[in-house]
């Protein structure tokens, strides 16, 4: 028994590292009161260790702790994405006024980032319903507190409260769905559920439908898909920018990982090598297709009316979730690979955009689009970089965003989802309009009054390059990324 636990622990190194880091950060925060840099540094080191050890798991494909979680290429991919996001957010936070305003609580902030990361790591690998709920809750609780981090700001507290309420309701609904599913199948691990469903040959269809939709609500909430998105704009606007950026990438990535694993593991019967498509239990593809269209279109159309750039990016991130959902619709390796590719690209361009919004807000004190007037002329590097991120978010070559879109559309057309591809393509035209509004203000308009200068320090420029260079390079040379994504679509238990 002990031996088996010890043996399993060797496949649990990244998560263990995060647990240890979390405790260490909390302790250090208490011990070195008034010197928040120390817990801060410990947190960063812990995240790096977790990221590196997660990356070292590449190639493994096995269950851990009796199928509670698995280590497979798919999980590893998402763990690396989450870890990378967390590290970058950590660095971004160094220059965040909102975080610095409560400098005494920086240790708390660090600990929460680490625990949220831990939750997301577990989400990426969870194959048991219990584990799924636990991981969701861990991520959720950390995120709720993080979004209310700036206690002084009322909108931050409002964001936190809204997040908690929506989170509680959605997880509640999901739990109910899970209990129904357990009642139907008698299993809590995803593969057992699939086997049970196959054996029973759809005798419980209405009940299964209800439970499936309830579980989907939980995932939909996590990835902010319409109609479970209502919390997103308010939370994204109210939370500190760094937290918003973290939620919009890492939390979404983990949500997608969980959703894809759940759908593929439970809904795909014993399959051949080529297709993972045949969905027996329920017409998932149609439902998800409709959800993706709604998510994309609503995100894009509402974004047009936003004047707060943070809120605009919140709606844009809803739209991007819709784009990725399109690829999930396909239920094929191609589709999953497209989601993986999209996430890497999305990480760089979205974090880059949020980073610049944070820096500009730090200098001008405003996130309003109007405060960007003339920015391109007075801060050329910031202007040009933001243009590149926005163009990439639109999906124009030669930026990385185009590659993301290219692979999503490829997956759709390969599976002959032509109408969906057309809707997706038209949506990227809509999205151009609001991204260009920002560009227009930066370059085509003159500032209203004497504007505050935006000057980057050397270190800030370096971090900017960390976002900018991949956004450009992946647009013209994406072979390694695609290669990695292709190798990472393997899910445990699915050949």
């Amino acid at each position: 028994m002990v031996e088996s636990v010890l043996q399993n622990l060797t496949y649990f190194v990244p998560e263990t590292a995060l647990v240890v880091t979390f405790c260490a950060v909390l302790l250090a925060d208490v011990i070195f009161k008034g010197r928040p840099r120390i817990p801060w540094t410990i947190g960063l080191l812990g995240l790096i260790v977790a990221g590196v050890t997660a990356f070292q798991q590449t190639g493994l494909n096995r269950p851990v702790f009796d199928l509670m979680i698995v280590v497979d290429p798919f999980a590893v991919f998402f763990k690396v994405i989450v870890a990378a996001t967390a590290i970058l957010i950590y660095l971004m936070s160094l220059w965040s006024d909102e975080v610095k305003a409560s400098a005494r609580r920086m240790g708390e902030y660090a600990a929460l980032l680490v625990s949220a990361t831990l939750g997301m790591f577990l989400m990426a690998g969870a194959t048991n319903l219990l584990m799924i709920v636990l991981a969701l809750e861990l991520t959720g609780l950390s995120s709720y507190v993080l979004s209310g981090y700036t206690k002084e700001a009322s909108d931050s507290s409002e964001a936190s409260l809204k997040y908690i309420l929506f989170g509680a309701v959605s997880t509640g609904i999901m739990l109910y769905g899970i209990s129904l599913l357990y009642g139907l199948t008698g299993a809590t691990d995803l593969i057992g559920i699939r086997l049970a469903l196959e054996g029973q040959a759809m005798t419980h269809t209405p009940m299964l439908l209800i439970s499936s939709i309830m579980i989907l609500a939980g995932f939909g909430y996590k990835i902010s898909a319409v109609p479970f998105h209502f919390w997103t704009p308010d939370v994204y606007e109210g939370a500190p920018i760094t937290v918003t950026a973290f939620l919009s990438v890492a939390s979404k990535a983990a949500g997608f990982a969980l959703m894809i694993r759940f759908l593929v593991s439970t809904a795909t019967p014993s399959l051949g090598v080529d297709v993972m498509a045949v969905v027996q239990t329920f017409e998932w593809p149609k439902l998800i297709a409709i959800m993706s269209v709604l998510t994309m279109t609503l995100g894009n159309i509402v974004a047009i009316w936003q004047n707060n750039l943070k809120r605009l990016l919140a709606y844009s991130s809803i739209a991007h979730a819709g784009t990725m959902l399109m690829a999930v619709t396909v239920f094929s390796q191609n589709g999953v690979a497209a989601v993986l590719i999209y996430f890497v690209v999305y990480l760089f361009m979205n974090l880059g955009a949020f980073y610049l919004v944070m820096l500009v807000a730090g200098a001008t004190g405003s996130e309003d689009i109007d405060s960007y007037k003339g920015l391109g002329h007075r801060a050329p590097l910031v202007g040009v970089s933001l243009v590149i991120f926005l163009i990439s978010l639109t999906g124009l070559p030669p930026t990385a965003g185009f590659i993301g879109k290219l692979y999503v559309f490829s997956a759709l057309l390969d599976a002959q989802w032509i109408w969906l591809a057309i809707v997706g393509a038209l949506n990227s035209v809509i999205s151009l309009y609001y991204y260009v509004r920002v560009i227009r203000n930066m370059y085509l308009r003159d500032p209203d009054s004497a504007p505050a200068p935006v000057v980057l320090t050397g270190a800030q420029t370096v971090l900017l390059m960390v976002f900018l260079v991949p956004t450009l390079v992946l647009g013209v040379y994406f072979a390694p990324l695609v290669d990695w994504a292709h190798a990472s679509v393997a899910l445990f238990g699915i050949r």
Binding site: T394, P398, K405, F409, Q416, I422, V429, L444, H486, A487
Partner: protein
């Protein structure tokens, strides 16, 4: 032909990018240096284009035959090994030109050079302006030399952002509206093109000679060979609904650029608001990309559908010709008039394309080149007068011939070329287009009706000439200086080309015929026309 081990087409394409980087590192205040750098870079591009002209072999056909493409450069760009569920993926850096792209390459180099001269008086943020102009130049050149669809698409999209800025920052009063309209319209077209491109990609495989496996590719020439289409794939077969849909997607993408009615509404706005040099580029090169795309991609990849849609295409051509001319006639604004005349003249290109015979096709491509030079002249002429009077109202002028004789002389050449006077290049290409179209019995009636456009063109051109140059002199413009040396430097080379090609069209026509014959062969080989929309 190569310099420093790099092929001439790569130089032609990426020289402007080098120029752009150079301009960007120059200090902000050194306006003169920036201008001369841009001029030198585009001048060098013209020199290269001339060298290409003298080394171009007119007997090689190209189009779908890699062997007879010229100045070919080919390297693997992206190569992703296959997995159990997706085949090997390859994207190539594949450049080459044939009789179809050759005139466009010359045109692009020439117009870019002229555009830099025409931009000499820009004083607002000159550095950014020149950088954008040069980036645009790369995009344009790349589109015409790329033979890999992916590469083509990247270049196609690279142009959008610089164009947005060029209109949006340096344009007229309604520049914001015009710029975003242009951007949205073009992006709408290109996303449809993107979908069609991906569908083509999944339907076509080629044999890799070195490893013996079949791989998916974006190679345009491979997409032109029906044998490469995989059995049962999305676009396999002939005349299927999917193929029609893909053709439609591509066609709309290109039609927006041409622009073909009813997708033309961005054009008058963009032209009127854009600064002179940018109007010159828009009309001179960008519009040609639409028709070039149809000829390079739609025709050889979907020959049976191209045949089936000849009549609709001819009807669209007719609308463009006549509607464009009527709109032009109604304009008070000099620049808007020229913009609508572009719509009308591009209609002639479409008519030549609908002819589906060598004569018509050659007329079409020749008209693309000629329209590029002639309209560039017309926009420069508008620019000259606008710089002096700051108005473009046609009725505000009169009797300018008295004070500006040299200007009047240049303008007369351009106007007569535009209305198709024999002896000037416009006549040859229009005549070819109409003659070719007339020979095609399917569209003969439409062709006859379209000739109305020629009369209308003559009417509005002469009427404009009369309103601006003849008649009572408007005292308001008493001391307007005549055209200066810089303006002449932009106009005269174009005028010489217009005259030379009018007198001796073989200078350019001879290099097209082999390619056009080949293109016709491909379309005809697809068999009799299939029914439109099953």
């Amino acid at each position: 032909m190569a310099f420093f081990g790099i092929g001439v087409l790569t130089w032609l394409t990426f020289l402007p990018i080098l120029g752009m980087l150079l301009v960007l590192v120059l200090p902000k205040r050194s306006d003169e240096t920036i201008k001369w750098t841009a001029l030198a870079v585009t001048g060098l591009q013209v020199v290269l284009a001339i060298m290409v002209y003298f080394n171009f072999r007119p007997d090689l056909a190209g189009i779908n035959d890699a062997e007879s493409m010229q100045f070919v450069e080919r390297a693997v760009w992206i190569d992703i090994p296959s997995t159990s569920w997706v085949g090997r993926i390859q994207i190539e850096y594949f450049l080459g030109i044939d009789g179809l792209s050759f005139p466009m390459v010359l045109l692009t180099a020439l117009i870019s050079f002229i555009a830099v001269i025409a931009s000499w008086k820009i004083d607002k943020a000159l550095k950014g302006y020149m950088a954008m102009l040069l980036l645009l130049d790369t995009g344009m050149m790349g589109v015409f030399v790329a033979l890999d669809f992916f590469l083509f698409y990247v270049f196609w999209e690279v142009m959008l952002l610089p164009m947005y800025f060029l209109i949006g920052i340096w344009g007229g009063p309604r520049r914001e509206y015009a710029a975003i309209k242009f951007f949205l319209y073009t992006l709408l077209g290109s996303v449809l093109m993107l979908l069609a491109m991906i569908a083509l990609y999944f339907s076509v495989t080629v044999l890799d000679p070195s490893t013996g496996d079949r791989l998916h590719t974006f190679n345009m020439l491979a997409m032109m060979d029906p044998a490469n289409f995989v059995e049962g794939s999305l676009l396999a077969g002939a005349g299927t609904a999917f193929r029609q849909l893909a053709y439609l997607g591509l066609f709309i993408g290109f039609a927006i650029k041409v622009p073909i009615f009813p997708f033309h509404t961005w054009l008058p706005d963009a032209h009127v608001e854009a600064p002179t040099a940018i109007s010159v580029i828009l009309a001179g090169v960008l519009l040609k990309m639409g028709t070039y795309g149809i000829l390079r991609i739609c025709y050889p990849m979907f020959p049976e559908i191209a045949q089936a849609w000849v009549v609709p295409l001819a009807i669209l051509a007719f609308i463009n010709i006549v509607y464009g001319a009527l709109c032009a006639m109604a304009q008070q604004d000099f620049k808007k008039l020229i913009a609508y005349s572009s719509v009308s003249h591009m209609g002639i290109v479409l008519l030549g394309m609908a002819a589906m015979n060598t004569q018509g096709m050659m007329g079409a491509v020749f008209q693309m080149f000629n329209h590029g030079t002639i309209t560039a002249m017309l926009f420069l002429i508008v620019g000259v007068i606008y710089d002096r009077a700051h108005t473009r109202d046609l009725n505000a002028f009169g009797g300018l011939a008295l004070t500006m004789p040299k200007y009047t002389g240049v303008m007369t050449v351009a106007f007569f070329a535009a209305l198709g006077l024999p002896g000037l290049s416009g006549f040859i290409s229009e005549a070819f287009s109409f003659l070719g179209a007339f020979q095609n019995e399917q569209i003969r009636i439409i062709t006859i009706a379209s000739t109305l456009g020629i009369v209308l063109t003559a009417a509005y051109m002469l009427w404009t000439l009369q309103r601006v140059f003849l008649g009572q002199k408007n005292e308001k413009w008493g001391a307007m200086p005549d055209i200066d040396g810089r303006e002449l430097a932009a106009l005269v080379p174009l005028g010489i080309i217009v005259l030379a090609l009018g007198l001796y069209p073989s200078l350019l026509l001879s290099s097209m015929s082999a390619s056009m014959n080949q293109l016709i062969e491909i379309v005809r080989a697809a068999g009799p026309a299939v029914a439109m929309l099953p």
